[in-house]
């Protein structure tokens, strides 16, 4: 037993109990994910059984069905385009703002940060009705531009808060040295501070992708048949008394996998990011 475990009050019994509880929790997390993944490879006869069936012949037919027919490929493409557009806009607008508020002499910077925090706390449900009307007036309803804009509005405050934390970690002396050497303040931002925050920028981008990819309410109200995103497609499977468990499971797996990959890539930043930098991860 390590010295650390002893000093934390850990005895052998407590340690075994700890491992037991964690294993139990991991099983609780993994069972639904594994069940749906298994279903996506099962022939229908193996899904609709009253006892668990593990002796099936794996099939890719559900994936072929989902990817070859219906709206799912279109929705997948839409979700990807919306996520990319949102990342570009939210980071493109949010990063300079975060830099200006952490490093440049902007009056009332602290108050600006608080204003962005408040904007982040506005519930989507409060905005969906007025945004529906406003986008209709602007002619942006049922367009990808409209949905990108709403996602951008929602993620911009997150970007400002995340990037503030990353810019604060850059040693101020580096930018000062650049300015003393004759660089403009913009160059100090663009050539010195920004490259140093690239990992943070990437983590922030992933958080924006999570929001955009998972967002349901705006997509439900503001998109039309041609502009639907993945969550809308998946919800159609759940809503109807669908018998296509295989197809919907394949769609669910295809929706989950990119998020798992991204989530594990930025594991270190994920928690503090979801808490908007309030907690150092």
């Amino acid at each position: 037993m390590s010295a650390r475990a002893i000093s934390r009050g850990g005895t052998r019994g407590w340690r075994i109990a700890s491992y037991g509880m964690v294993l139990f929790f991991l099983a609780w997390v993994l069972i639904p994910i594994c069940t749906v993944t298994l279903n996506s490879f099962k022939p229908a006869t193996a899904i609709f059984t009253t006892t668990p069936d593990f002796s099936f012949t794996p099939t890719l037919e559900h994936y072929f069905n989902v990817l070859a027919r219906g709206n799912f490929p279109r929705q997948y493409l839409n979700s990807t385009l919306v996520a990319i557009g949102t990342v570009v806009l939210a980071l493109g607008f949010g990063t300079p703002a975060a830099y200006a508020l952490t490093r440049l002499p902007v009056h009332g910077a602290e108050r600006w940060f608080r204003a962005f925090l408040l904007a982040r706390m506005v519930p989507a449900v409060s905005l969906v009705v007025p945004l529906f009307v406003l986008l209709q007036i602007a002619g942006l309803k049922n367009t990808l531009t409209g949905i990108v804009l709403t996602h951008t509005g929602f993620t911009l405050p997150l970007v400002v808060w995340m990037m503030r934390a990353f810019f604060q970690d850059v040693p101020r002396e580096l930018e000062e040295a650049a300015v003393v050497d004759g660089a403009s303040r913009w160059t100090a931002f663009w050539r010195v501070a920004l490259p140093l925050t690239l990992p943070g920028l990437a983590a922030t981008a992933v958080l924006v992708v999570f929001f955009s990819w998972n967002e349901f309410l705006f997509a439900l109200v503001l998109t039309g048949p041609q502009t639907q995103t993945v969550p809308i497609g998946v919800s159609a499977f759940v809503g109807t008394v669908s018998v296509d468990w295989g197809g919907s499971s394949a769609a669910a797996v295809l929706a989950m996998i990119p998020m798992f990959v991204l989530g594990l890539l930025i594991q270190r930043f994920l928690v503090s990011g979801l808490a908007m930098g309030a907690v150092k991860g």
Binding site: F25, L104, L127, V238, M259
Partner: protein, 312 residues
Amino acid sequence: MANTAITTGGAATRSPRRGYRREDGSLLGYAMLAPAAILVGILILLPLAYSVFLSLYDWKLLEMNRPKRWSGLGNYWKLITDDGLHNAFVNTVIFMVGAVTVELVLGFVIALAVFHMTSGRRLANAIILLPMVITPVVTALLWRYMLDPQFGIVAQVMTALGGHGGIDVWGSSALALPGLMLVDIWQWTPFAILILHAGMLGISEEQFEAAAVDGAGHLRVAFSIILPAIVPQILVVLLFRSMDTYRIFDTVFVLTRGGPGVSSDTLGLFTFRNGFSYLQMGYAMALSVFLLVTVSIISAFYIRLLRRRGML
């Protein structure tokens, strides 16, 4: 904070600090801030102001271009006397208190267990984070299949144990709301675990060593050293989970639509339904304002506590 010097007075009156020329950066600063500020203004503030304005009128979605009838505070009066809203509000508060309590307590227990592991912690954390990044609609799908009364794994296990299949959770007015809470707990307890665990890692080893010298047992350490040290993290969990559960929409919409009857109706769903099913836009706007004001009260409460501790 890095900006204390800047927030205290006018830009022109103060001497330059930190060796930069002030005028130079100030203009650039506003230029870099303006696009984001304008965009948030258009996409968040404008819709909010617009919803306050339109909540004073009585109008339907299909009558968008016709002149709207002024109703003053009529929509807000309706809000006070609406039994449907009362029901949705009670459900939402039950959902929030129930789900957040379980997430926090379970989160603390599992975070503590992870904290006591001597190996495999990285792997455990990697698995624990998975539910958080799943689309809520997909989470709803997972649990619809898990709890299917005929072919769900829960029903299969119950049959194997000699029962007669499972229970139709989403079709039961007693179980629909607890079922939705279960889904939220599955998806978001990981958030509590990872935040609380991060807080525990920040406690200095000396504190544990001092407790060990005193002969403190496992429970004493957990409650008199770890728990007080992670109060800020607990507040963060409470803040974010209370806000998110209070405005819960996606999983409710997909799994129960508030049913059976209105047994699992929530504020978010109620507002949505009034706007987009009943097309009562004026009333839906008033409900949006109500939701915003109440959620602000909840978050202001926690933010004040957090600020007092120097977080945020």
